[in-house]
C-alpha cells in the first residue's frame, strides 16, 4: 500500500492544497485527518477539510471530514472505494447511503457538485480522477489548526 502525506502543518486561512498526481491506479483510498490542536479562543473558529479528486479539468469532493469546532486532538479516517456505484454515505450510525447524481456538475465551487459541496462527514464512493488534493475552509476570528492528512492507496 502506497502512502503519502498530503499535508502537515498549521492552517490559518482557507486554502487549496497542491494536487498529488497518482503514479498508480488506486481503487481504494484511505484518508486520515489527524488534528493536533484547534484554536477556539473566540469560540467561533471552525475548519472544514475536504479531500478532492480531479482529472485535470474537473474537480469534485470525495471526502468532507466532520467540521472541527472544538479544541483537542482528533483523528478521523475515511475510506473511498472506486469499485462501487457512485454514492455518498453519511457519518450517522449506521451511515446512510444515497446514489450520487450520474453527472456531477463541477463548474462552480460551492455549488451543485463542485468542490466544497459535500456535506460535513460524508464520503463519496465511485470513480476518481488521476489526482487528489485537499481544500481547507477556515472560519472565525483566529482560526489556527495544527493537523496532518495522510493518504493510503492500493
Amino acid at each position: 500500500m502506497k502512502q503519502i502525506v498530503l499535508f502537515s502543518g498549521t492552517l490559518t486561512v482557507t486554502v487549496a492544497g497542491t494536487a498529488y498526481e497518482f503514479t498508480s491506479d488506486p481503487e481504494e483510498l484511505i484518508a486520515t485527518l489527524s488534528i493536533t490542536s484547534h484554536d477556539r479562543t473566540s469560540a467561533n473558529e471552525t475548519i472544514n477539510i475536504y479531500i478532492t479528486s480531479s482529472d485535470g479539468v474537473s474537480t469534485w469532493d470525495i471526502v468532507a471530514f466532520p467540521q472541527i469546532a472544538t479544541t483537542g486532538a482528533k483523528i478521523y479516517t475515511a475510506r473511498v472505494n472506486t469499485r462501487l456505484l457512485g454514492q455518498n454515505v453519511t457519518t450517522a450510525t449506521p451511515g446512510t447511503a444515497a446514489v450520487d447524481p450520474a453527472c456531477l456538475k463541477t463548474d462552480t465551487a460551492s455549488a451543485d457538485e463542485g468542490i466544497k459541496t459535500l456535506t460535513a462527514g460524508m464520503v463519496r464512493h465511485g470513480p476518481i480522477g488521476n489526482r487528489i488534493a485537499y481544500v481547507a475552509a477556515c472560519a472565525g476570528t483566529t482560526p489556527i489548526t495544527v493537523c496532518s492528512i495522510r493518504i493510503s492507496m492500493r
Binding site: R83, D100, A102, T106, D107, P127
Partner: protein
C-alpha cells in the same frame, strides 16, 4: 490512469459524430469530463446534447448522456462509468436513481431501442463496455455561433 482528449477544444454549429478512440488496454473505470466554454442561445431555441458512446466494432450504444444544454454559459460535467457493476443506468437527480438495464440491447437503429442517441439526458450507463469510445453531438434550433467545448476521458 491514462487520459485522452476525445475532443480537443472545438467549435461546432451542427450535429457531429466524433471519431472513435480504440482502447489499447481494458479499462474497468472511465471518467469523462465535458467542458463547455459557451453555447449560443441568442434565438432561445438552441439545444445541445452530447452522448458518450461505446461499441465493439459492430454494435454501438450510449454510456453517458450529459444534461442537455439550453442556456448560454460555461458548464463542466463529470461522469464516471464503472464496468464492473451490474448493467444499470443512473439518473442525475439528487439523489440519483438507479435502474437495471435491459439484458440485451437492440442497437441496429440509431435513436431507437437501445442504440446510440437513446439514453435519457443526464443518465449514465454502468456495466461492460466495448473496445472503443466515441461521442455524438446533437444540435437543434437556430444556430449561427454554436458551442465551444472539449471532452476528456480518463481510464484505469
Amino acid at each position: 490512469m491514462k487520459q485522452i482528449a476525445l475532443q480537443p477544444a472545438v467549435t461546432k454549429l451542427a450535429t457531429y459524430s466524433g471519431t472513435d478512440y480504440v482502447f489499447r488496454f481494458n479499462p474497468k473505470e472511465i471518467v469523462v469530463t465535458l467542458d463547455v466554454a459557451s453555447c449560443e442561445q441568442d434565438d432561445l431555441d438552441e439545444t445541445y446534447d452530447i452522448y458518450i458512446t461505446t461499441g465493439d466494432g459492430v454494435s454501438s450504444w450510449d454510456i453517458i448522456h450529459f444534461p442537455q444544454l439550453t442556456t448560454d454559459a460555461a458548464y463542466r460535467y463529470t461522469a464516471g462509468v464503472n464496468c464492473r457493476l451490474a448493467l444499470q443506468n443512473v439518473t442525475s437527480a439528487v439523489p440519483g436513481v438507479a435502474a437495471n438495464d435491459p439484458a440485451t440491447f437492440k442497437t441496429d437503429t440509431e435513436g431507437a431501442g437501445n442504440a446510440v442517441l437513446t439514453l435519457a439526458s443526464g443518465y449514465v450507463r454502468h456495466g461492460p463496455i466495448g473496445n472503443r469510445i466515441g461521442y455524438r453531438l446533437v444540435v437543434a434550433g437556430t444556430v449561427t455561433v454554436g458551442i465551444v467545448y472539449s471532452i476528456r476521458v480518463s481510464m484505469r
